[in-house]
Structures are given as C-alpha cells and as structure tokens.
Symmetry: C2
Subunit: 456 residues, 2 copies
C-alpha cells in the first residue's frame, strides 16, 4: 500500500465528517433564497483546498454563482496535468418531498449517507479533493493537479462555458476527469462514454385576463389548463415517440457493436421496477430501457401548473397555465436547433382561442467520448486496482453540460469516472451515497494519477 493510500485509511473518519459539513450547506443553485448558501459552499471548498496545500486557490465570481479554481503544479518535469471538474451546487430538496430525514442534515443508514448532493455531486468531487490531500501529504502527487468546481451545473452551467473560453491557458491540461455519474452495481465499475445534452423551455398558455367564475363563463372560454394539456398531448405519438417533425434527424444511430457492449449495463426488469416504482416501462418500443435513457433523446414535462391545485376546490376557469419542458439530447443533436423545432411545433399546434408563449433557455450539447485514448486505458487500470474488476463502457442519460465545452475549447480527452450508483436517487428524495464507494473512489482517484503519470 502506498503512503497516500495509507493516509486515506488513517484519516477516512475525518473525511467522512468533512463531507457531512459540506452536505449541510443547502447550495441549491436554482433558488434565489439560497444564493448565500451557494457562496458558502464555494468558500468552504476553497478553504479546504488551501488547507491541503494546493498552491493557488481562487474563487471566480460570475454573474451567477462562483467558480472555484485550485492548482498544484509541483510534479516532476514532463508529468501530465489532470483537470478535475465537479460541481458543488445541488437540486432543490425539502423534507416534505418524501425524504425520510432532513435533506440537509446528512444521516447514515446501512452504509449509505443520505443527503441532497451526497452523490450528485458533492460526495463524488470531494473524493477527488481527499485523494489530492492524501497525495499532497505523502510526498506530492505524481501529476500536476487543477480543480474546477462550479456552482451552476444543476441550472445548465450557465456561465461555465464562457469561463472556459476566457481561461484556456489557466485550464490547460492533458486530461479531464469528471466524477458525476453512476455505475449499475457496487461491484461493477463503469466508464461513461456518452452523456445526453439538454435544452429546457417554459411554455405558458394565456386565456382570459383573470381567473373567471367557471359557472358564469365556463363553456364559452377555452380553459388554459385544458389547452396546455391538449398541446402537451400532441408532443408524443401513441408509441412514445416524439411527434415534433425533424426531432430525430441528427441522432447518431447505435451500431451493433455498441448495442452489444451496452447490453452489459442493461437493466433487469424487476430491478428497474423496484428502483423506479413504475408499473411498467414506457417509450420507444424498438429500443431497450437502457437504450431509451442512454442513446435516445427525450422530451420531458418537468412541471405543469395552472388554476387552483391546493387543498379543496376553487371553481375557477384559470387565466393561465404553464409547463416546464426539457429535452435530453444525444449525439449529434444541437440544443439550439432542437429548441427552435420544439418551439415552432408547440406554436403550430396551439389553438387560436388561447395565446401561447414558449421561452427556450440556453442549452447544453450532448457529449461523446473516444474510448481508445491512453487516458482511458489509465482509467481502466485505476478501476481494476480500486475495484478489483475491469470497468464496462456505458452511456449515461443525464447531462454534464461542460463536457462538450472541454472537448471543443480545451481539446481534452474527458474521463467520466463515476463513483456513484445508478439508484443513488440523484434529483429524488432520499438521495444517498455509498460510504464504501466514497472510500473506493478516493483510492481509485489516486490510482488514476499514478497510472496516467506512468503512461506519459
């Protein structure tokens, strides 16, 4: 066991407590009332990076939430530089969403740590911080290290793309590592080679000027809650295929080899039912479940509202109704193009008896990673050492908006080295992170630095 790995063993109890502290900060990036908490999480990380001996630590303000940058460039001449990306912001969470314990009071149950952000992504990025600390305390890492940790991943990495473009020199590296994904089971490590992109939009349907008495006016005014339902119902056909013309035009088809490799991360139907709680799968019939979520784009209704939907009844004919829609995209779909297609389709099916508005937000392109690079081979060996088993290659249905920017702006091979589990409950109530995976993640992050250093 190397000195760095021994350090992890000795101080793992403290690492675990530090993670609790980080998870207690409700750094919800989408909520205006949490702006101060998001800043606090950035400062907390910067402090920890300073204390462990990173030589330059800086918090960059943006017009949104801050970006934490840290570097240590003391490796042997010619050693490669590893850029580690993660995010410290989290999805919204309140106890009443169905959590068994307060989402911002980390609670351990049966080897898992329950808290919002435990897996996505505080726990996973923190594994890299503690790997760095262990190497810095053990004679220094065998590679140069750069950390880039943002606070806007859950709202589409709004300002990170511009930051990357403006700081190409600062971020220069030989490989980028991102741990913000899951593996199918605790024993089967995996490397993700494709991520879905994302484009979001708000749809708003306006009817009467104000909420009307549904008795006095009902029957002669098109009800916006009904109209938005009629619009949404037209977005998919009966089979679950998206009905927007041209939506699938740019989708890269799956090859036979790829389908065979992906079958290794296929869901067992009973497991899938247990994890989702859904009665049966839904979606494009010609694709398996893992293909529908990994290799096919979607159009999802994230929220819908209109009229009176609280306890009791209010017999109104509502003035407006609205929906929040997101499309997950796959290579080679372009978020701007898809946003325009969906907007145009919605406006074309909106009836003339209401007024319909669509507001498309800035999107993030899908990412697709070459699996035959030396960096990827180093990652495979790191997992073999950390997990005792060769990783499989899989596609991930979620999005990490910045991956495409790293590829395009920094020309970096990106390694998606997930330490989470597919059923960690990211974005759901009772999100959790396996404490054993946290430990193995720290070890594997160290092995990766050793392997990539040896291979260059």
């Amino acid at each position: 066991m190397s000195q760095a790995h021994a350090y992890v063993r000795n101080y793992f109890g403290r690492f675990r407590e530090q993670l609790d502290d980080l998870l207690r900060i409700p750094s919800v990036s989408t909520a205006l009332e949490h702006v101060g908490d998001v800043q606090q999480a950035a400062d907390w990380l910067a402090d920890d990076l300073r204390q462990m001996g990173m030589t330059r630590v800086e918090t960059f303000a943006t017009s949104g939430h801050p970006i934490v940058y840290a570097e240590w460039l003391g490796a042997r001449p010619g050693a490669p530089t590893v850029l580690i990306y993660g995010h410290y912001d989290v999805q919204p969470a309140v106890l009443s969403d169905g959590w068994r314990s307060d989402p911002f009071e980390p609670t351990e149950r049966e080897g898992f740590l329950y808290a919002r952000g435990a897996s996505d992504d505080k726990g996973q990025i923190f594994a890299h911080l503690k790997a760095a600390e262990a190497m810095l305390a053990s004679g220094g890492p065998p590679v140069n290290l750069k950390f880039l940790i943002e606070g806007e991943e859950e709202i589409g990495s709004v300002h990170l793309g511009d930051f990357v473009k403006a700081n190409r020199d600062l971020l220069r590296a030989d490989v980028c590592v991102i741990s913000d994904s899951g593996m199918p089971t605790p024993d089967q490590p995996s490397l993700v080679y494709a991520l879905r992109g994302l484009v979001t939009m708000e749809v708003e349907v306006h009817g009467p000027a104000v909420d009307l008495h549904s008795g006095t006016y009902g029957g002669a005014v098109h009800n916006p809650a009904q109209a938005i339902a009629e619009i949404i119902a037209k977005l998919h056909d009966e089979t679950g295929r998206i009905a927007v013309p041209g939506f699938y035009n740019d989708v890269l088809p799956l090859t036979d080899d790829e389908r065979a490799e992906l079958r290794r991360s296929a869901w067992n139907l009973e497991d899938w039912k247990k994890v989702t709680g859904a009665t049966q799968p839904w979606g494009e019939p010609e694709f398996a479940i893992h293909e529908r979520t990994g290799a096919r784009p979607t159009l999802e209704i994230n929220g819908i509202a209109g009229g009176y939907y609280e306890h009791g009844f209010k017999t109104v004919l509502p003035a407006r109704a609205w929906a929040k829609i997101s499309c997950r995209l796959v290579a080679n779909q372009d978020p701007d193009r898809i946003g325009k297609l969906v907007e145009a389709f919605i406006l074309s099916v909106a009836p003339p008896t209401v007024r319909c508005e669509v507001r498309v937000k800035r999107g993030a392109p899908p990412a697709f990673v070459d699996i035959n690079t030396p960096a990827m081979k180093a990652a495979i060996r790191a997992y073999e050492k950390g997990w005792g088993r060769k990783p499989i290659f899989m596609r991930e249905g979620g999005s990490i908006p910045v991956v495409a920017d790293f590829q395009k702006e920094l020309h970096l091979p990106v390694i998606l080295m997930g330490f989470g589990l597919n059923d960690d409950g990211a974005h759901s109530p009772d999100e959790h992170f396996s404490i054993e995976m946290f430990r193995k993640g720290i070890d594997t992050a160290i092995y990766f630095c050793e392997e990539i250093s040896a291979s260059v």
Copy 2:
C-alpha cells in the same frame, strides 16, 4: 315613499359601513386556516339579525361551517312567509392573484365596492338584511320573514341539504328568495329561471414512486405530468364538445321560445371579449355564448399541477400529477350519474403505464324554476318598482346547490332575484359590487315583501 324606504334613505351610509365590516372577515370556506373567520362571519350576521329585532336567531353548528337561521313571525294572520337564503362564505382570494387592492380591505372606486364577497354573496344577502331592518323599524314587515344563511356554498353546500331535510317545519314558507346572481346591465333587471348544477372530482396520476432524475430515467418511464395531459386532452373533441359517452343524454333541449327569450340577455361579442379578456369564444359551435354558459353542461379543468412549477428549473420526472375538474350541469342531468360517467371514461383512457385515481365529490343538481307562479309575478312588479323596468328572464351558468333541495324538500317556489352584475368578477380578482345596485336591491327586497303580501 313608504316609511321603510325612507329609513333606507336615512341610514344607507351606516348600511354601507356595516357591509365593509362584513367584507373584512376572510370567511374562505375551502381553506382550513380560515375556519375561525368563517365562524366569525356567522356570528357577525347573527348579531346584526338580533339587533334589528328578529325574534329568533340561532347559529346551527354542522360538521363543517355553521348555518345562521333567523325568523320574525309577527305579520298579520294569513300573511305569507318569505324564506330568504344566502351565503356568507367566499371564494379564496389573495392580493397576488391580481387584485388592485387587498381583497379583504373593501375599497370604493367609481361607485363600486371592491372586495372578495362584495357581490358573491355578502353584498346581496346583506341587502335583504337591511330591507328587513328597515321594515322592522317601520311598523313591521307585511310578511313573516325567515333567513337561512350558510357558510358552505362555495364548497358545494356540503351540509345544507341534510339540514333542510331535518328542519322542514322550521323552514316552512310560501316562497324562497335568493339573491346570488347577476343581471346583464345595471338598467336591465332580470329573473333567473335556471341554474347549473355541479359535480367536482380530483384526478391523480401516479407514475414512479418518487420524483426521478429526468436524465437517468427519462425516456423509459411514463411521465405523470404528460400522462395527465394526455388524459385531459381526450375529455373534449376538437369542436369543444365533451367526449364522455352519454354525457349529454339527459340534457333538456332548448325550445324555440326559450331561445328567443334568452337572446334578450345575449352577449355582445365585443363586451364579452372585454369582460373575459379572451381572444375569441370557444365551445360548442351550434350554441351562442349565452347558451353555452346557461343551457349547456361543461367539463372544466379548475386546476392542474405536477412536478416542479416554481421559479427556475428542476429537471425531474415527477412521481405524480393531479387535476381538479368540475362539471356544470343543466336540467335534467344528475350529478351522481355524470360523476360516474366521467370517472369511468377517465379510467378507460388512462394508459396502463401509470396508475390513475378519480375521486368524485358529492354534487349538486341543476335547478329549473317555473316562471308562471304568483310569486314570480310579485317579483316582476317589485323589480318594476325598484328599477323602473320590467325584468327579463335568463339562465345563469353558476350553481346554487340548495335550490334543488328547496324545491324537492320544501316544495317552495324559488325566486332568483339577483342584485349583482354579470361582470362583478365573482370568483375572480377585483370582485366588486355596485353601490347603486346595493341600494336598489334593498328597495326591491322591500317592494317584493309588499307585493307578495298584497297578492296572497
């Protein structure tokens, strides 16, 4: 001018201030947090009825909100008894719904009093209280008077039907007067001869056990917000006709004579657009606007919700979505039968990939009033005196659940003597009541007692 009418002239300023006090009480019957306010409004009315000299005033508790009863039976032998019904509960209202002033701080602007309940129904029932006070202070009313004022009209008069059945003797009368409707213009009084019934239901669609990450699972789980939209979209056909089989089976068709009379209260299209703010009418093409709202049943989405619909984005695949639906019914539709038909249809179109629940609430039948009774003729004369113009007959799209109970249990002719205006904004922000109509209403209520006394 009779002594009672002179009293109204002398004390109208105080009546107006008392109405402000009543409107300040936020007696929202559907909201649990307003239970105490609803009770306070009942007590306030009971106190006023006592002070004016009603000989028996009682507040009956129910398992919901209380019922206020008051009587004065001192008229000449053989004089008829008039039962006056109204309600002191109101629809929910908060400033942020779009009110120009606090809905529970009555504000006068350009001859109108703005407050929740100003027209529906505190202002209208209060006109009868002040008519009674004026007659009691002027030698006594020419008829016996009974008041029945409930606090659950806006939630479907849940307990009033049973109260009426259990108190037939107490409520024995010769005619029932209800002022809880509007007229087309301030100069054209009207008598309503048909009210729509109501049946409400909640529809809930369950998908995954908890909100899921829309990236990780989206594309393979049927989204409940999408599924409920798909269900709702099937409830009407393209023309606006309700698609539930059998829904229209029991509807009494309009006769040619009735259509001709109803044309007198037809909307002018430009006025209708101004009042509703809708871009154009919607609904069954073979019926005029006033027929769609008065003589045809509806199925209305009063509210819809699911997922994350607040500020910002949360890319969830929601666990559930729900809608609140109400059907307005016309003679001779039965609320139970219609509730069952709609429930069965919704369950039949709900896809097997989600679980759908429908909870039908207790309904209220539509009401249809004979326009050829002596009581109706007395009402016509009362309006001629109060307004200087003969009233027209019209249908009202709203519901007063208890009318059918009065007809069935008490065998009473019911006179729907509205003092409001169609565009008073009942159930909407900026609800208001014309102060001039309030005054004329008090006068007309006195004339009605005089006319009905003379006719018997």
